[in-house]
């Protein structure tokens, strides 16, 4: 395979789970809830998905099962922050640790095992384009579906009533309640949907892109997902951009090797983390912009009314 093809294909595979999970987190944050447990949700989903694909051989079922597992975990988070009024930062960390622990436990018998890759669905005509075709259009079907989800969400937050309601709840839950919306229901649903999407992302990593399970394989991607949402200033189109950009950083190791430069592998592994820090610092500098774009009630406890 051509090295450019290889890099394009690697970027797409690395970016897809980040994108779906970040879109999920975007929905959650737009509703005013900061769910920091993405790492744990993705890990649990990766383990669950791997177990399901090992048992059934169905990658689709594995992705779905991963989504469900993460959604159940996110329900725990939702109950703690929405009903028990827990601090969102601490609750997210707590549920994240729980998820990592559960993933480690159920995954123990599968440590180091591999599964068959997901069937590819080359796009007719497009995949025949030299170099670009095999890099961009010769992937499993799920890879093309995720950007479609992004388009759907972009439309939803721009024009659809549902998007408007989520934004309203995220800006001022008090006002949303006063005009008659059920803040808790909206937020609960947002957290569950976000959890499902994080789960699909996590399962994608174990059953599609790496086809193996090892404890700790999410390796901070869940946190990069959260950073992506900040980086994107809570805008769908920028989440897409950021996800593919970070997909590229994630394969920095391959990129550098393909250019024939030698560097310590640990440094290359650190590139996505360093890039995240730099991106966060650059993007946060303008406090006005953050305040203009961030959901106003993000992270705040909403105790409801009497």
């Amino acid at each position: 395979m051509d090295s450019l093809t290889f890099l394009l294909s690697g970027t797409i595979l690395a970016a897809t789970p980040l994108l779906i999970a970040a879109l999920g987190e975007l929905i959650v944050e737009k509703s005013g809830v900061l769910n920091l447990s993405v790492e744990g949700m993705m890990a649990l989903a990766a383990a669950t998905g791997f177990i399901v694909v090992s048992a059934t051989g169905s990658h689709w079922l594995a992705l779905f099962a991963g989504g469900i597992a993460a959604m159940l975990l996110s329900a725990v988070f939702a109950v703690v922050v929405l009903f028990a009024l827990g601090n969102q930062v601490a609750s997210g960390i707590a549920v994240g640790i729980l998820g990592l622990g559960l993933a480690g436990l159920i995954g123990t018998p599968y440590e180091g095992m591999t599964v068959a890759p997901m069937a590819r669905a080359p796009v007719p005509l497009l995949s025949d384009i030299p170099v670009l075709g095999p890099g961009l259009f010769n992937h499993p079907l799920i890879v093309y579906l995720v950007p479609l989800v992004a388009v759907l969400l972009w439309w939803m937050f721009r024009t659809a009533k549902l998007g408007l309601v989520i934004r309203a709840v995220g800006e001022s839950p008090e006002s949303a309640h006063a005009v008659g919306y059920n803040v808790l229901a909206v937020r609960f649903a947002a957290v569950l949907v976000g959890g499902f999407m994080a789960g699909v992302g996590g399962a994608f990593i174990s059953v599609v892109s790496s086809t193996l399970w090892s404890d700790g394989m999410i390796a901070g991607r869940g946190w990069i997902v959260i950073a992506l949402v900040v980086f994107a200033m809570w805008r769908v189109e920028r989440v897409v951009l950021g996800a593919y950009l970070f997909g590229m950083f994630a394969i920095a190791e391959l990129l550098v090797q393909s250019m024939g430069i030698s560097a310590p592998s640990q440094l290359l592994t650190s590139v996505p983390y360093i890039a995240t820090i730099v991106a966060i610092a650059l993007l946060s500098r303008d406090g006005r912009r953050i305040r203009l774009n961030a959901p106003v009630s993000l992270g705040r406890v909403y105790a409801g009314t009497h």
């Binding site: 009024l85 808790l184 950073a227 995240t276 820090i277």
Partner: protein, 362 residues
């Protein structure tokens, strides 16, 4: 969907309120642990014994509990100061790793040294490294307003890669058959152990001293007061003229120094060298310890001991019954989740809605 209860912030708290949530969380965690062990095929009585009795049944095991409580206590005291100011340093794990690296430099470079001041130098170097690592987050937050949660987390991952790089290369034992670890430390670089056979070492006293210092800092000092105002009422802190930047720097530096010192105690204690694994997640567990202790220095002391029991109990269960080590992570998660949920009853007066009758009325 409505809350099935109504809540009001409590105006006055009973003196026992702070005990309610930790006790509820500990109980829930023990029950979850027994359930989990049972599901894994361990009989309940054995599970109970391994999880809670065995860790405190022999001198050696008690020593193990105290050994693991040392870094947890030290780190949690540092983190709690920041958490009270709502500065979320989630990077203690990375700061611990940097502390371990910093503390290892002297004994690696002067491997045959007999200098009795070696440990002091290591402690200083380690806490400075930990502080330095945390300072990156402090600088980025105060200068660029970069979220410290994300930055400290990323720094954890980078610290780990840095450690892998160092033990595989620059700091590797040249006579170590290419194993990714440093040379063993000289005796002057090792913390003295406290009682026969057990591995617990003098670091425990430092952690206890840090607890006393933290108590004075939090309860009595003006700086502690400033930080706390910043945490509970940031607008009031701004109004009073308490600098937010100072709070950020102070919180992160204290947390970083404590975690760095804990890292030194690991390499100068149970490990005796720098290697790829210097912490079984103490940096994260300490976050839980800080919360479980109610961010109160005395509460943290008890929370650290309980967490250490879980660690040792998990170790014993793994060794004797083949229970996966991941169980510890689950119990830690359950502990913090139930603690946060139980806080509802401490911070608020909760009353059930009499909604059923009213809904039926129309």
């Amino acid at each position: 969907m409505r809350l099935p209860w109504t809540v009001e912030a409590r105006a006055q708290r009973s003196p026992f309120a702070p005990l309610v949530a930790p006790l509820a969380a500990v109980t829930a965690t023990i029950l979850a642990g027994l359930l989990l062990f049972t599901l894994l095929g361990v009989p309940v009585t054995t599970a109970f014994y391994q999880l809670l009795v065995a860790p405190v049944s022999t001198t050696f095991n008690i020593g193990e509990v105290l050994l693991k409580a040392t870094p947890l206590l030290l780190i949690a005291q540092g983190l709690a100061i920041g958490f009270r100011a709502k500065i979320w340093n989630i990077g203690a794990e990375g700061q611990l790793i940097l502390g371990a690296i910093g503390g290892s430099l002297l004994p690696i470079w002067f491997n045959d040294s007999q200098n009795p001041m070696m440990l002091v130098g290591m402690a200083l170097a380690g806490s400075c490294f930990g502080m330095g690592w945390a300072a990156i987050a402090a600088w980025l937050r105060s200068r660029f307003n970069a979220n410290e949660i994300l930055v400290t987390l990323m720094l954890n991952s980078i610290a780990l890669q840095l450690l892998y790089y160092l033990v595989a290369g620059p700091l590797r034992d040249p006579f170590g058959f290419n194993f990714p670890q440093s040379a063993l430390f000289p005796d002057v670089a090792m913390l003295p152990t406290l009682f026969g056979g057990a591995r617990v070492n003098a670091g425990l006293f430092v952690a206890l001293a840090a607890t006393v210092a933290a108590w004075f800092f939090v309860e009595r000092s003006m700086t502690g007061y400033r930080l706390q105002v910043g945490g509970v009422a940031p607008e009031a802190a701004r109004y009073a003229g308490f600098s937010e930047k100072r709070a950020i720097w102070l919180s992160l530096l204290i947390g970083g120094a404590a975690a760095g010192l804990a890292g030194v105690f690991e390499v100068a204690g149970p490990l005796g060298q720098l290697q790829r694994v210097v912490s079984p997640g103490y940096g994260f567990a300490a976050i839980i310890v800080a919360f479980l202790g109610g961010l109160n220095p005395i509460g943290i002391l008890f929370a650290a001991l309980f967490m250490a029991v879980i660690y040792v109990g998990g170790d014993i269960a793994q060794a004797s019954a083949g229970v996966p080590y991941a169980v510890i992570g689950i119990l830690q998660g359950v502990l913090l989740v139930t603690y946060i949920a139980a806080r509802l009853f401490v911070d608020y007066r909760v009353r059930w809605r009499r909604s059923a009758a009213r809904v039926a009325a129309h």
